[in-house]
């Protein structure tokens, strides 16, 4: 019978550069784990999930905390940028408000001031709340490995990221003018709670009536089903009506795979996901 326990003893390693991170990972092979904000990792270590004798802290690694818009209009968010900093950033609020909203609704001020966007994504939970928004925003992510680096869409991260990879930054393309966004999450508590399910929507409409383009990211579903492509197809090129939104939401809920958890059955979660998608699209329409 194991109960939640004290954090096991470990050596804390504090590399200064990405190169050093990989040389430490190489030296300690399977005995080292990466540590970003620690808001999830510490819990897991207490539960003896992935606890290892060496912890590589990323706090001092240079080049992981950029938050800036480039000349090409692309927003770069370093993996170690704090969630609260994203929520508070005027640039993010202005150009990518969906991401700011998601970060603002995540956890508590204490968690947002410790947790990082890279950590939230790298943990690869279906409940990682930044993932649906990054997917809806068609974000790319730079993955560093011992032998070099690649840039992949966040929605493919689940199959592209290997253990001992390091996420270094997220690249969010500039959005077309007039694009609309919506985000809804369902949790038992409105604040200070994990999203059971959620939906992030980026919508581009022609003449205010027709859906020119849409991306929908789902939360609380398995990683490969986080992008609701079926629902997007139903919407694209169609006049946006309550009926078509309901159809898209239904398709999204059907496409998002999820299991039952301690609190809710998969059947209930699916129904609520449909509601969240429907509301997120409607929010985007009226954005």
């Amino acid at each position: 019978m194991t109960y939640y326990r004290r954090v096991p003893e470990f050596d804390y390693l504090a590399p200064k550069s990405i190169g050093e991170v990989f040389s430490l990972l190489g030296r300690y092979k399977g005995d080292a784990t990466l540590f970003a904000g620690g808001t999830i990792a510490l819990h897991q270590m207490k539960e003896r999930i992935g606890a290892r004798p060496y912890v590589i802290g990323l706090k001092g690694v240079s080049g992981l905390d950029a938050l800036a818009v480039g000349k090409d209009g692309v927003l770069t968010v370093g993996a170690m940028v704090l969630l609260q900093r994203i929520a508070d950033s005027a640039e993010v609020q202005g150009g990518w408000p969906l991401l700011a909203t998601v970060c603002r609704l995540l956890g508590t001020p204490q968690i947002r001031n410790m947790g990082t966007i890279g950590g939230n994504v790298a943990i690869r939970f279906s409940t990682a709340e930044t993932l649906p928004a990054l997917i809806a925003l068609r974000a790319q992510v730079r993955i560093a490995a011992a032998g070099g680096e690649t840039v992949v869409p966040v929605e493919n991260l689940y199959r592209e990221m290997k253990s001992d990879n390091l996420l270094t930054e997220f690249l969010l393309p500039a959005l077309p003018k007039g694009v609309r966004m919506g985000y809804r999450k369902f949790a038992v508590r409105e604040h200070f709670d994990y999203a059971t399910v959620g939906a992030a929507v980026v919508l581009d409409m022609d003449d205010g009536k027709t859906c020119k383009d849409i991306t929908i990211g789902l939360g609380g579903v398995t990683l490969p089903t986080m992008r609701a492509k079926g629902a997007e197809e139903i919407m694209k090129g169609r006049t946006v009506t309550d009926d078509i939104i309901a159809k898209a939401a239904e398709a999204a809920a059907e496409g998002g795979h999820m299991g039952s958890d301690v609190m809710f059955s998969a059947g209930y979660k699916s129904k609520v996901l449909k509601t969240m998608v429907e509301r997120a699209i409607k929010e985007a329409v009226s954005d």
Partner: protein, 770 residues
């Protein structure tokens, strides 16, 4: 003092600044020199025989100072239970384990890490036994027996049968019948259970732990350790929550004592969150069947209550779950014919015990009943309630007299202040309003512990110290005791110190066990303060050369009444010093015994037990009514409570600021249990799956609705200055109010709590199909 009364004034809690700034000292903060850290080996099985325990490897581990097991160290025949019938809990068992997480062995080491390592080295051999997790399965023929000698897993039965209920229901114009249910709920205490035991070679145990009732804990430990209670000293510190969950004699305290005695050093047992949730106490799940007979004019002819409660593994203190719902249910609504039959059923789960909201299904059932029956009989639901509400000096079925009640007034005021009549049915789609009433005891019968004794000693500088065996769970008792002492003596609160909850220095007190702090403990403090004041006036009179009744206190000085403003007075410090010189220091003594005329309540419970259940069981009852306005989300089933009007009949309001704070806390507690808190067990392993705050969701400050509080201020004849319990009774009808508001919002009736979003959505879907 200017002579202005402190009663009814907003007085901030004396400990609030320290708590807000993180300076308050809790048991979890304490470290004693040479202290060892203990960890406990716990059962992985819900039901198993303990065959053998091998501790040799743990004992060899460097840094381990003591190891205890039930087989070697538990005194035989020393079993915990709050009444003889329920002495069924061996605090460190040696024969059987009966729930996942039950204590089996423990180690004390020089660090927590070594203790954790040592725990892994202890090998326990079990023989697994079939187990049963739910009462409905436990009563079935052939179900595994949690305790071999309790057939049908019936831990205890309780019956009150007054009048002729069968006949009354047969002759009624209308009989309403329903079944209500509620899940197991947790206390969710923020401060994890911690105890430090320090054994002295003289044979004395010193303990620091979070307990609501130091004297009962001392008695329980004495019984189980087989030592005299006076060889145990319990110290009280600031406490991070209680809600009834710290009223027992916890196994952790027993284990700390065994380890400390063995190691000869202080030992700390500190539980993790999961241990607290799995291995402390829960509130029993209930099935509440109710029949209510009505005449055409709305008068209740009789009520028939049949309930089943999940006891968990031991009835030791779960027994209170049997009779406390009665103490609420029989009081609110008049019933000339009344039957209450309750069964407590053993299961292989966390032990049930005291919790502040334990009886909510009872009041809820009646508020739903009134709203439903009002439509059948064509009577206004408020009028229907008022017709049946208990009135002052009425006698309840089991023969307690209700000495004060503002139930009717609270219903009328809550309906008025909330605009219930205008709003009902008119709040728009998915929004609704509902009303519910509740009540609570101030001091129920606890044998010779139904009284409290307090004393006050004066120091040579004119300050004094109040001694009370009561303690403070966070509801503000310390402030209340100082306020009352200040009111009676006439010196400022800052000049009064408090020594509380120390079983060595203070007299016997019921503790915070039956909502007794105000009516019993504070009455004792009041009498002690009056006694001390008498002594002060006598000595001052002697110095001033007049009789005591000619002396008046102004500020910190005593004057001859007729010469006030003319002559010199004598300062309080001088009075105290004079008293010392005379060998009779200023001292005050006060004792208060609850007005209870009932010698056998619960003490000799049998199966079934229907004798001796009559008499005055409770000193005073508090009442109150709440209305709830809420919105139901038709897409998720989530309920958002927007506004609550709460009317509290708690007698004289001693300190409105403090009572309001308690009421807000209680409302949040009730909302959590009504809407989100749910425990789940894994049927395959018998383990609780909701042992952390990630899975057991409790409300935070964010969930607090707009709360509008009103007081009736009807004084109680027994309470100090007319005060009675003020934090719970008013809100016990909140779940009924929620249920009625949901019906107003959606047309759906709810009979099961918590009303979680998934349950609500399902009810909405079923309703749409109709």
């Amino acid at each position: 003092m200017s002579g202005e009364s402190l009663i009814g004034k907003d007085i901030p809690r004396i400990d609030s600044t320290d708590k807000a700034l993180g300076r308050a000292k809790y048991t979890t903060d304490m470290v004693l020199p040479g202290m060892l850290y203990a960890k406990v080996v716990r059962s992985p099985y819900p039901h198993a025989k303990i065959l053998s325990i091998d501790t040799s490897a743990a004992e060899r581990l460097p840094g381990v100072k003591a190891v205890v097991t039930g087989i070697k160290d538990t005194p035989r025949g020393a079993v915990f239970g709050i009444i003889p019938h329920t002495t069924d809990h061996v605090l460190l068992p040696y024969e059987k384990v009966r729930y996942v997480g039950e204590e089996v062995a423990a180690v004390a080491a020089i660090s927590e890490d070594i203790a954790e390592e040592a725990v892994d080295l202890i090998k326990v051999e079990y023989e697994q036994l079939p187990y049963v997790l739910h009462a409905e399965d436990a009563v079935k023929e052939g179900a595994p027996l949690v305790h071999d000698h309790r057939k049908g897993n019936l831990a205890a039965r309780y019956l009150v049968d007054e009048g002729n209920i069968e006949e009354a229901l047969k002759n009624s114009d209308y009989v309403w019948e329903k079944t209500f249910t509620c899940d197991v709920a947790s206390h969710g205490l923020p401060e994890p259970f911690t105890v430090i035991a320090s054994y002295e070679p003289s044979g004395k145990f010193n303990l620091w732990l979070q307990t609501q009732c130091p004297f009962q804990t001392r008695q329980g430990l004495g019984n189980t350790l087989k030592v005299a209670p006076s060889d145990i000293r319990i110290h009280s510190l600031a406490m991070g929550g209680a809600h009834g969950g710290r009223s027992d004699t916890p196994p952790g305290a027993f284990i700390a004592c065994l380890l400390s005695r063995k190691a000869g050093r202080p030992v700390q047992v500190k539980m993790t969150r999961e241990e607290v949730e799995d291995c402390m106490r829960d509130k029993a799940a209930k099935v509440w069947n109710i029949k209510v007979g009505f005449k055409k004019d709305g008068t209740i002819t009789g009520r028939d209550i049949r309930i089943f409660l999940e006891c968990g593994a031991y009835a030791s203190s779960a027994i209170v779950e049997l009779w406390v719902p009665l103490l609420i249910d029989e009081v609110l609504w008049r019933a000339p014919n009344y039957r209450y039959l309750a069964d407590l059923i053993y299961t292989n789960k966390t032990i049930s015990s005291m919790m502040r909201t334990r009886a909510h299904v009872g009041p809820m059932s009646m508020d739903v009943c009134f709203d439903q029956v009002s439509e059948v009989l064509g009577i206004d639901p408020i009028e229907l309630r008022l017709k049946n509400a208990v009135l002052p000096n009425e006698v309840v079925p089991s023969k307690s007299v209700v000495t004060s009640t503002g139930l009717s007034e609270s219903i009328v005021m809550a309906a008025d202040k909330s605009g219930l009549r205008e709003k009902k049915g008119n709040m728009g789609p998915n929004r609704g309003i509902g009303i519910g009433s509740g009540n609570m005891q101030s001091m129920f019968y606890m044998g010779f512990r139904s009284g409290s004794t307090s004393f006050i000693k004066f120091n040579d500088d004119g300050s004094c110290t109040v001694f009370t065996g009561n303690c403070d769970l966070g509801q503000g008792n310390q402030t209340m005791f100082l306020q009352i002492a200040s009111e009676e003596i006439g010196i400022e609160m800052k000049d009064i110190k408090l020594c509380y909850g120390d079983t060595e220095l203070c007299y016997q007190d019921p503790g915070n066990y039956s909502m007794s702090a105000t009516v019993v403990s504070a009455n004792a403090v009041k009498k002690a303060a009056q006694d001390a004041k008498r002594h002060l006036l006598e000595i001052a009179g002697d110095i001033l050369d007049v009789s005591a009744d000619e002396v008046e206190m102004r500020g910190k000085e005593f004057f001859v009444k007729r010469r006030i403003g003319k002559g010199r007075g004598v300062k309080i410090g001088e009075v105290c010093r004079t008293a010392f010189k005379r060998g009779k220091p200023i001292f005050g003594f006060g004792d208060y015994r609850a007005r209870i005329d009932y010698s056998d309540f619960g003490i000799d419970i049998k199966e079934p037990y229907n004798e001796k259940t009559y008499g005055q069981k409770v000193t005073a009852y508090s009442f109150g009514t709440t209305t709830v306005e809420l919105e139901v989300d038709p897409g998720t089933g989530r309920i958002k409570v927007e506004r609550i009007v709460a009317v509290n009949d708690c007698g004289t309001v001693l300190n409105p600021l403090l009572v309001k704070g308690n009421m807000q806390g209680h409302i949040n507690f009730m909302l959590g249990q009504g809407l989100m808190e749910r425990n789940v067990w894994d049927p395959k392993t018998g383990r609780k799956l909701t042992s952390t705050f990630r899975t057991y969701k409790v409300p935070t400050a964010n969930e607090t609705p707009d709360i509008d509080i009103h007081f009736l201020g009807i004084p109680d004849p027994d309470g100090p200055y007319g005060a009675k319990e003020g934090s719970l009774g008013f809100g016990c009808g909140l779940h009924g109010a929620i249920s009625n508001a949901i019906h107003d919002a959606t047309g759906v009736w709810v009979y099961d709590v918590p009303i979680t979003p998934d349950k609500m959505l399902q009810l909405l879907e079923e309703n749409r199909k109709k």
